[in-house]
């Protein structure tokens, strides 16, 4: 009896094992599918996510947007979508190379600095002293300049150091032109 039963139970066990393994494979498949690009149906590479929450490879989405520049909509839910409104996803793995070097470039992540708590901190002189003056008439509006003392001018635009250098030079140039102009006004 016992000898008869033994193969039976082992068979059952192995069948059960197979079942659970199948299930695990299935669930793993489902899990992996959750991170598949909605366009190429493959695991998303250079992944970006739309505001409506749908995942794509950036090359796939870029190509989709290229094919219809006038009506840019999410392939999944038809919500409005655009290059500026997708967010790149950076996992722990993935390529270390700069995604911008790839074509098409993946849009940048948007980093915002945490907000300052002091509401009036800008009025303190610790951050530097800013004063600007201009002359309102149209042709002279060009001469309007900005004095910046002790402020290592970091503005939202012109993040390039070379640009910054140029900007400082220009502002100084205009400052001197403006001073000359005022001097001439006073003398004349």
């Amino acid at each position: 009896m016992a000898v008869d039963e033994e193969p039976d139970t082992t068979a059952k066990n192995s069948a059960g094992g197979e079942n659970t393994e199948n299930k695990r494979n299935e669930s793993r498949g489902e899990e992996e599918r959750a991170f598949e690009c909605n366009i190429c149906l493959d695991t998303a590479k250079d992944a970006v996510i739309s505001m409506c929450g749908h995942l794509f490879c950036w090359p796939c989405l870029h190509q989709w947007l290229e094919t219809r520049p006038n009506r840019q909509s999410c392939p999944v839910c038809k919500a409005a979508i655009s290059r500026d409104k997708v967010i790149p996803l950076y996992g722990r793995g993935g390529s270390k190379e700069d995604p911008r070097e790839k074509l098409p470039p993946r849009p940048q992540g948007q980093r915002t600095e945490p907000e300052n708590t002091g509401a009036f901190s800008n009025f303190g002189f610790d951050g530097g002293f800013q004063m600007s003056f201009g002359i309102g008439a149209f042709p002279f509006g060009l001469f309007a300049s900005t004095f910046n003392f002790g402020d290592p001018v970091i503005r939202a635009h012109g993040t390039n150091p070379a640009n910054l250098e140029d900007e400082r030079f220009l502002s100084q140039l205009f400052l001197w032109v403006a001073i000359l102009f005022i001097f001439w006004l006073l003398v004349a």
Partner: protein, 176 residues
């Protein structure tokens, strides 16, 4: 001589192809066939009733699909074959889908062309062979009579008994 010329011709051809299509096109072609492979796999795994599709012979970019008329409609049980041709830009551009079996339907013309918005301006890269075939299957039982390609079918649709009679007559004609 011929031996000397042939490789030259061959290399000329390959450069001409590169100039014409570009390497981008080659990768596009690759991604299209990769996606079609994925679709074939899901289509075979899903086991949907009433629809099936398979590549037509060696041509991986042209498939033959089959639709069985949905139950509860005049098309119940009728089997239609369709051809699906995938452009290089698939899935960014819609495939060309035509009825191979002549189909008497308000939105299908005598050449088998189908008037279906998702195959034209409503196309989305998300749609695949499965959703296309399901859409056409449901179009059979739920035609859009406002913009017919087959006026006779559109007019007759309101009289379902007469419609079915004519439909079956036409379907028998094809078979015989």
């Amino acid at each position: 001589m011929a031996q000397n010329i042939d490789p030259v011709n061959g290399s000329n051809n390959s450069t001409a192809m590169k100039d014409g299509d570009g390497p981008a096109s080659a990768t596009k072609h690759q991604s299209t066939s990769k996606r079609l492979q994925q679709e074939l796999l899901t289509l075979m795994m899903s086991g949907d009733k009433g629809i099936s599709a398979f590549p037509n012979g060696d041509e991986f970019f042209s498939w033959i699909g089959t639709i069985i008329g949905p139950k509860g409609t005049v098309y119940d049980g009728l089997i239609y074959k369709l051809s699906l041709t995938f452009p290089n830009g698939y899935p960014f551009t819609a495939p060309t889908v035509k009825f191979v079996t002549p189909c008497f339907h308000p939105n299908v013309d005598t050449y088998g062309n189908i008037c279906l918005d998702i195959l034209k301006d409503k196309w989305s890269a998300l749609y695949d062979v499965r959703t296309i075939l399901l859409s056409i299957q449901s179009l059979l039982g739920d035609p859009n009579n406002d913009s017919p390609l087959n006026g006779q079918a559109a007019q007759l649709w309101s009289d379902q008994v007469a419609y079915k009679k004519l439909l079956l007559e036409k379907f028998q004609d094809i078979k015989s």
